[in-house]
C-alpha cells in the first residue's frame, strides 16, 4: 500500500512532463492505483500508511480524499500542544527543573523517528493543500522542528526530503518574512566570553548563525525579543572509550566483529582488516534492508577508491563502497542471519605519531525507521 501510494505520488509529480500516448497510459495507470487505494482505505490502520495514501489521493484529487482525510485526522497524536503522526508515541524533549528554571534536555531518539517525521510531513502537506495555514498546521511544524537530529537534516534520507517539501509549502503560505524582526541573545553559562546577540530581520532571514561553545558544560540561555519565528539548535558531541557508555538500541539488530592484523614488517604499515557482520533481528524480518558499515581509518592510513571497488566485486551482497578521507563505508543491499565476513587491506600513507587508542566502526540499516539509532558500534583498540 505504501509502495503503491509512493509510485502514485511519483507519477502525479511528473505527469506534466509526459507527452503523447504515454500521458494517456499514465492517466489510466493512476486511475487504477487510485481505485485500488480507495478500496483498501477502510482497512488501513497504520498512521504512516494512512498519511502517505491520503497525500497520494489528495494529489490525484480522488473523491475518497475526504474520508481518507477524516481517517488521518482521527489518527493524529498530541503531545505538549504539538501534533504529529506516528506508529508509536514519540517522547518530547525532557525538561529538568533546577532553581525554578526549566532546562530543556536533548530529545531521546526512538526507533520509529524517521517514519514519524515522514508521516507527519505527508499529513502536513495534506492539511496545507486542503485548508492552508491553521492552528493544527502550526503545531505540526513546531513538532517537526523538535525532531531534527542534525543541524540541517532530520533523521534519515527520505524523511528529510519530505519534511523539507512540507516546510517549504508551509513557509510559502505563512509569509512570516515580512513581520520578522527579532533579537536573540545566546549565552553559554560556562563560556561568558562567547555570548552573542543575533538580529534576525527580513533581509537576513536565511542566514545561519553559528556559535561555538568552548567550555562544554553547564547550559545555554536563549532570550528572544521581537516578532517572528526561528529554529534554534544545540548540538553536543563527545567521545567515549568505554563500551558501556555508548548508545544502545532497544534490541540488538546487528552483530559486528572487527579484527585488525598489523604487518610484522615495515613498521606495521599494512593493516588487514577483517569485518564480520550478521543480521540479528530475524524475528522481525528474515533479512535486513539496505545496510551501511562505516569503518574509521587510523590517522595516516589510507585506502584507494579503485582498490576498494575491486575488492567490493569479490564480496557477495556488497553493493558499493565509498572511501572518504577518514573512513571506509561499505554498503550492502541486505544482510541475512548468516555471518558475512570479508577482508581488506589499508596501508600507511603518511608517517604520523599514532596516538589514537580507540576508533569506532558502526553498522546500521541505511533506511532504518529509527535513523542511526539502531546501530551496532564497536570500539577498535588501536595497538
Amino acid at each position: 500500500m505504501g509502495h503503491t501510494a509512493h509510485v502514485l505520488i511519483a507519477l502525479s509529480k511528473c505527469s506534466e512532463s509526459l507527452e503523447g500516448s504515454l500521458k494517456v497510459d499514465t492517466a489510466t495507470a493512476k486511475a487504477r492505483s487510485v481505485n485500488y487505494l480507495e478500496r483498501v482505505l477502510s482497512y488501513l490502520r497504520d498512521p504512516y500508511e494512512v498519511a502517505i495514501v491520503t497525500h497520494a489521493l489528495t494529489l490525484a484529487n480522488s473523491p475518497a480524499k475526504e474520508s481518507a482525510f477524516g481517517r488521518l485526522h482521527s489518527l493524529r497524536r498530541e503531545n505538549e500542544g504539538m501534533v504529529y503522526w506516528s506508529r508509536e508515541p514519540v517522547a518530547s524533549n525532557g525538561v529538568v527543573y533546577e532553581n525554578q528554571r526549566p532546562f530543556v534536555q536533548p530529545r531521546p531518539p526512538t526507533d520509529q523517528d524517521a517514519v514519524a517525521v515522514e508521516a507527519s510531513a505527508y499529513a502536513l502537506l495534506t492539511y496545507l493543500a486542503r485548508d492552508g495555514i491553521g492552528d493544527l498546521q502550526e503545531r505540526t511544524v513546531a513538532w517537526l522542528n523538535t525532531m531534527r537530529m542534525n543541524d540541517a537534516g532530520f533523521v534519515s534520507i527520505y524523511d528529510t526530503i519530505v519534511a523539507m517539501e512540507a516546510l517549504t509549502e508551509y513557509a510559502y503560505r505563512a509569509r512570516l518574512r515580512e513581520i520578522t524582526d527579532m533579537t536573540v541573545l545566546i549565552e553559554a553559562s560556562a563560556s561568558p566570553q562567547a555570548s552573542q546577540q543575533v538580529k534576525i530581520q527580513s533581509d537576513n532571514l536565511a542566514t545561519v548563525h553559528t556559535l561555538e561553545i568552548p567550555n562544554v558544560w553547564g547550559h545555554v540561555n536563549v532570550i528572544g525579543r521581537g516578532a517572528g519565528q526561528a529554529v534554534m539548535q544545540l548540538k553536543v558531541q563527545y567521545g567515549v572509550d568505554w563500551e558501556d557508555l555508548r548508545d544502545r538500541p532497544k534490541r540488538p539488530y546487528f552483530d559486528l566483529f572487527i579484527d585488525e592484523t598489523y604487518s610484522h614488517f615495515r613498521n606495521k604499515s599494512h593493516i588487514v582488516v577483517e569485518a564480520c557482520v550478521k543480521w540479528l533481528a530475524i524475528d522481525e524480518s528474515p533479512t535486513s534492508g539496505a545496510v551501511t558499515l562505516e569503518y574509521e581509518l587510523p590517522s595516516g592510513y589510507g585506502y584507494v577508491q579503485s582498490d576498494a571497488n575491486e575488492a567490493a566485486k569479490g564480496i557477495s551482497l556488497v553493493s558499493d563502497v565509498l572511501v572518504s578521507s577518514s573512513r571506509v563505508v561499505w554498503l550492502f543491499d541486505r544482510l541475512s542471519g548468516e555471518r558475512l565476513c570479508f577482508r581488506f587491506q589499508v596501508n600507511r600513507w603518511y608517517p604520523v605519531a599514532n596516538m589514537t587508542m580507540y576508533r569506532s566502526a558502526l553498522v546500521y540499516e541505511t533506511n532504518s525507521p529509527g535513523g542511526l539509532l539502531n546501530n551496532e558500534t564497536k570500539l577498535i583498540d588501536g595497538d
Binding site: V7, A10, L11, K13, C14, S17, L18, E19, T26, A29, R32, Y36, Y43, R45, R101, F103, V115, I157, I161, A171, R177, A188, N204, L205, A206, T207, T210, L211, I213, W217, G218, H219, V220, Q229, A230, V231, M232, Q233, L234, V236, Q237, Y238, G239, V240, L245, D247, S285, G289, N309, A312, V318, S319, D320, S324, L331, D333, R334, Y358, R359, P369
Partner: protein, 225 residues
C-alpha cells in the same frame, strides 16, 4: 582533527515562537559534565578534550538553508553515503532549498546559479546508475528497483521550474522512459510490484513491516465479519 573514541551526539532542537508574544526565554541543558573523572572509578565519562558544542540559529521554520555548497549527506545528516540515495538526497535538498528561497523572495541569483550547477553535477552522478530500459538502481552492484526509480521520478519531477530551465533541465525522454518502466510493474488491480530481486527483501524494510500489519488487520476484520 577528530576527537578520539566513539562519538556520541546529543541534539536539542526547538522553535522560538514570537508570533503572538514579545518575549521568549529558553534554557537548554548541555548534557556533559565539566570533568570526565568519576572518583574511584576505572572509566571516564568521556575522553579528555573530546566534547564539542555549537548553537545554530536561523530565521523562519525551514532550518539552515544550504549548510554547505555543494550540499552533501555529510553536512546534512553527518553520514557518508554513496549511490542513488546520496545523489538523490543532495539533489532534492538543494532543489527544495532553492524552492524555499524562491517562494519566500529571498533567492539571490548567485545562489541560484551555483545551486542549479550543483544539481547538474548530482544529476550526472545519478545517471551512472541509470539503465536504458528506464530503471535506476540503488548502487553500482545492485539490481534495478521500482522503489528507487519512483523516488528518482518524484524528485526530478519536483525539481523542475520554468525559469530555471536554462541552467537545469531534466530531459523529458528520461522521465518518459522511467515512467514507462514503472508502468510495466503495475498489476491489474492497480498495485505496483517491486522487482524480483527486492520483492521479498525490500531496501526499505518499513514497507515490509507495514504490509504484514495490514495482512493481519485484513484477516482480522474478515474473521470478525
Amino acid at each position: 582533527m577528530q576527537p578520539e573514541g566513539a562519538t556520541i551526539t546529543r541534539h536539542t532542537s526547538l522553535m522560538l515562537d514570537l508570533k503572538n508574544r514579545a518575549h521568549v526565554l529558553r534554557f537548554l541543558d548541555i548534557p556533559v559534565e565539566e570533568s570526565p573523572v568519576i572518583p574511584y572509578s576505572k572509566f571516564r565519562r568521556y575522553v579528555f578534550g573530546s566534547p564539542r558544542a555549537s548553537v545554530t540559529l536561523c530565521g523562519d521554520v525551514f532550518g539552515p538553508v544550504l549548510p554547505s555548497t555543494p550540499v552533501s549527506t555529510d553536512s546534512m545528516l553527518s553520514r557518508s553515503l554513496r549511490g542513488t540515495e546520496a545523489h538523490l538526497f543532495n539533489l532534492a535538498t538543494t532543489s527544495w532549498s532553492l524552492h524555499y528561497l524562491r517562494l519566500t523572495n529571498q533567492l539571490q541569483s548567485d545562489t541560484l546559479v551555483s545551486g542549479l550547477n550543483d544539481m547538474n553535477v548530482q544529476m550526472a552522478d545519478l545517471m551512472r546508475l541509470y539503465d536504458v530500459q528506464g530503471s535506476f538502481k540503488a548502487h553500482t552492484n545492485s539490481k534495478p528497483s521500482v522503489w528507487v526509480t519512483a523516488w528518482v521520478v518524484r524528485v526530478l519531477g519536483q525539481s523542475q521550474f520554468q525559469d530555471w530551465e536554462n541552467n537545469f533541465f531534466v530531459d523529458r525522454k528520461l522521465l518518459a522512459s522511467c515512467v514507462r518502466w514503472l508502468l510495466s510493474y503495475q498489476n491489474r488491480d492497480g498495485t505496483f510490484d517491486e522487482t524480483f530481486s527486492y520483492s521479498s527483501f525490500p531496501l526499505d524494510r518499513r514497507l515490509l513491516i507495514v504490509s504484514s500489519i495490514i495482512d493481519l488487520s485484513t484477516n482480522f476484520s474478515i474473521f470478525n465479519d
